[in-house]
């Protein structure tokens, strides 16, 4: 059995809530079958207060082995480096001190969500709490633990980025650790598990036909492609949200709104309004990943010229107003 400890700091708890959405099977069944023993989780465990502190101290003195340390939420280093924006309840000690001490002895350290990975939403705006990630501060390696940090296994922090994370991203990463198959090779250059981060949100997007013909939405709720006007970053965002649905059959684009690239460091400050595409001379600034600009512009012009009437009309409507034409085999 692998012992897993889960702590939360400067976040919203949404990654834990998302974890509870795991299905086929539920998260408790999955952990049990993966051989993961939950030492403590803030939403699930019985131990409170003194019982919890005794367990944490047991880990620090080596009585309890810590195989996997999962951290959710940003690391609150302010004010002035003191960590006092989050003193862990009942302990009088800043959470960043607990995390540093525990990460030092954990076999694997896992950042769950973009806050723990990179700072995330909590680091938005002026960031006057000095929120940062475990091993990244935005795109820069470093963060609370420093760029050279390795866990006892010799591996860097695993960044299961997302706001929130998909439950399967967490459970599958933990399963691969439990199977002994995890190492740094499994991560991309932002530390994200490649199992889900080697895909683009664009893959499997149900609006792909609109994308092909550049039939674009102009208002929230329109059916068309949201890349040209609505700020959608699905063609650049590393995640499998449209090939592995959320909550049964959902995804951001299926829910009627653009991908905001929440698995990327610094997604929280895109430099433009989230739901408006920044453009230069009418051309979107962020082009699809690996697409040469000249070809994109040329193909976009061509496909716009060829847009079928059905897609033009449906793109700017809430409802399907123009169903696909039925072709009879005979006259």
């Amino acid at each position: 059995m692998l012992n897993l400890l889960w702590l939360q700091s400067g976040g919203c708890g949404g990654c834990s809530m998302s974890l509870l959405n795991a299905e086929s099977p539920d998260v408790l069944t999955l952990f049990e079958n993966a051989g993961i023993n939950l030492l403590w989780h803030p939403s699930l465990s019985e131990a409170t207060g003194d019982e919890c502190i005794a367990m944490l101290e047991g880990i620090l003195v080596g009585d309890i082995i810590l195989d996997i340390l999962c951290i959710e939420g940003s690391m609150m280093t302010g004010p002035m480096g003191t960590g006092k924006f989050h003193i862990m309840g009942g302990t009088g000690k800043p959470m960043i001190e607990w995390v540093k001490a525990l990460a030092d002895i954990a076999r694997y350290t896992v950042a769950v969500g973009s806050c723990a990975a990179y700072g995330g939403i909590t680091a938005a705006g002026a960031n006057d709490t000095d929120a940062t990630g475990l091993q990244f501060d935005g795109e820069m390696a470093g963060g609370l633990l420093g760029k050279d940090f390795t866990s006892q296994s010799g591996d860097q922090v695993v960044n299961i980025a997302g706001c929130p994370v998909h439950p399967d991203w967490v459970t599958e990463t933990l399963m691969s650790i439990a199977l002994g198959e995890h190492n740094d090779e499994q991560l991309d250059k932002f530390g994200r598990p490649r199992m889900y981060a080697d895909h683009l949100v664009h893959h499997g997007c149900s609006r792909n036909e609109f994308y092909e013909y550049k039939a674009s939405a102009v208002d929230m709720g329109d059916r068309g492609c949201m890349m040209e006007n609505m700020g959608c970053k699905g063609t650049q965002a590393h995640a499998d949200c449209n090939s592995r649905p959320w909550n049964g059959q959902g995804s951001c684009t299926n829910g009627g709104y653009p991908c905001i690239n929440c698995t990327a460091p610094e997604f929280e400050e895109p430099g433009h309004s989230f739901c408006q595409t920044p453009k230069i001379a009418g051309i979107p600034v962020g082009l699809p990943t690996d697409m040469p600009k000249a070809w994109f512009v040329a193909l976009a012009q061509l496909s716009k010229a060829a847009t079928p009437e059905r897609l033009k009309k449906n793109a700017i409507a809430e409802q399907l107003i123009y169903p696909p034409t039925i072709h009879k085999r005979k006259g």
Binding site: C12, G49, G125, E318
Partner: protein, 483 residues
């Protein structure tokens, strides 16, 4: 008199610490500390108003949709924008989906596991309750988690995902429901209803929602063995352990009104005390910083002119949470407050006998589950897939707006000010800010601080189990509290 610093409190959302002074085997005094500050009100400053719809749901992963709705309402108010009927219905459904999910999560995962503690090993009911509700190991979680996940398919369909959707907009919803999806929604709710009726209640939702008095509740309870459903299990424990005697606070209740149109909610807005209902007076709401780690601690702040400037220099401070007050009064919010303000006969009867307490808070929560899930089917049927779902508008360069909503755990308000096309002030008062506030300038303790006074402390207890029941009976969300 001895002093206990209890924390970290888990099975609440976020981190929580309570300092207790105990004597004569009872809690004599309490100070509640919300130990995490993130500063959303400052994060929002300078951003485009519509971007609040990205930031505010991320205040909280368990009240995410409610934060979205409050924000969308504040934006709509500032824009002078209304929404079509479909927008209202879909907002109700997404909001209900989150609230019901939270109420169920609270009951099964956060609240009941405390009765499976070894503290209760000698109790007559212990073996059954431990088998059913033991944290991570009980049989109930294994049934509840799949039912919860299936129910949240409604969220996948209507909101893309949960938590953190952008589908809830000032003028309605960004996701129009197609005819096939309307059928699917009915199927999802039917599946969840089956779980509630067979496992949670052991009876029809209608029967539960029509219970009219405490006497009727106990008559219903006695109709079948107490092990026949999870609600009866709870009532049995409550009866034996006398939970109605635990956790009384101010008995002054506040609700912003829930579901339906903003100006015509399904459950009325207002406040209730001593048998009297009063209309909601937003203008009387203030936030007091006297015992918070906040600047400007010498006078109360109406939220529209609120200030959020954290500082550890306030020596009287012991929490990052401000202290919201209605006028100068401490109020309790939550499902019990909602039902009492709206006049549900069962909850009015229960509080007339023993006030707000651990029993009445949990009963109100489950009563809401029964009422709302029944209502969800009606809302789905009323969706017209051929009619509009969203209106669109422009945000003026200078504007202000207020957005009020009821989260699973009570009244939530957003106060927005826009200058030069950007957010110049944004103030949030969350349900647990009300319930778990620190003292105010008149040294009045917050609702929880009052509720735990008198709670029994057993010999050797460092985190008294009675205090745990009381704390969790409020279903606190600490992430929202300070935000």
């Amino acid at each position: 008199m001895s002093r206990i610093v209890a924390g970290p409190f888990n099975r609440v959302e976020g981190d929580l610490e309570i300092t207790l002074e105990t004597g004569e085997d009872k809690v004599q005094r309490a100070e509640v500390n919300s130990p995490l500050y993130r500063g959303f009100e400052r994060i929002l400053l300078g951003h485009k108003p519509m971007d609040a719809l990205v930031y505010t749901p991320r205040i909280c992963g368990i009240c995410s949709v409610t934060q979205s709705v409050a924000s969308a309402r504040a934006l709509a108010d500032a824009m002078g924008l209304g929404m079509p009927k479909n927008g209202e219905l879909c907002t109700n459904l997404v909001l209900a989906s989150e609230n019901i999910t939270d109420l169920i999560t609270h009951f099964y995962l956060f609240f009941m596991p405390d009765f499976a503690r070894d503290t209760y090993a000698g109790a007559s009911w212990f073996d059954d309750i431990q088998g059913r509700f033991k944290a991570t190991a009980g049989s109930a979680a294994a049934q509840m988690l799949p039912a919860r996940a299936d129910f949240l398919h409604l969220m996948g369909l209507m909101a893309g995902k949960w938590p953190h959707t952008l589908s809830l907009q000032p003028g309605g919803v960004a996701k129009a429901i197609e005819p096939k999806e309307r059928m699917r929604l009915l199927a999802i709710v039917a599946g969840f209803k089956r779980f509630l009726e067979s496992t949670l209640f052991g009876d029809s939702l209608t029967t539960i929602s029509q219970l009219k008095s405490e006497a009727e509740l106990w008559q219903w309870y006695q109709q079948k063995p107490w092990q026949s459903s999870d609600f009866r299990r709870f009532l049995h424990v409550a009866e034996v352990q006398q939970l109605h005697q635990l956790g009384r606070a101010t008995d002054h209740f506040l609700s912003f009104g829930a579901y339906g149109a903003i100006d015509d909610p399904m459950w009325a807005a207002g406040s209730y005390r001593n048998g009297q209902t009063s209309p909601l007076e937003i203008a009387r709401i203030v936030e007091d910083h006297s015992h918070s780690w906040m600047s400007d601690s010498d006078y109360p702040h109406p939220p529209a002119q609120g200030i959020t400037q954290p500082t550890l220099d306030n020596e009287a401070g012991y929490s990052w949470c401000k202290a919201p007050r209605l006028g100068q009064e401490v109020v309790e919010v939550g499902p019990l407050a909602r039902q009492v303000v709206n006049g549900h006969p069962l909850m009015r009867d229960m509080i007339s006998r023993h006030g707000g307490n651990v029993l009445s808070r949990v009963v109100a929560r489950l009563l809401e589950v029964a009422i709302v899930v029944g209502q969800m089917e009606q809302w789905i049927k009323q969706i017209d897939p051929t009619a509009p779902f969203c209106h669109h508008g422009e945000m003026p360069a200078e504007a202000s707006g207020v957005g009020l909503v009821e989260a699973a755990r009570g009244a939530l308000g957003h106060w927005l000010e826009v200058k030069n096309g950007k957010i110049s002030n944004y103030q949030i008062i969350a349900p647990t800010s009300w319930n778990f506030s620190p003292r105010d300038q008149h040294e009045q303790p917050g609702a929880l601080e009052q509720a735990v006074v008198g709670a029994p402390v057993l010999s050797g207890e460092k985190t008294p189990v009675s205090v745990q029941h009381i704390v969790r009976s409020f279903d606190p969300c600490m992430a929202c509290t300070v935000h």
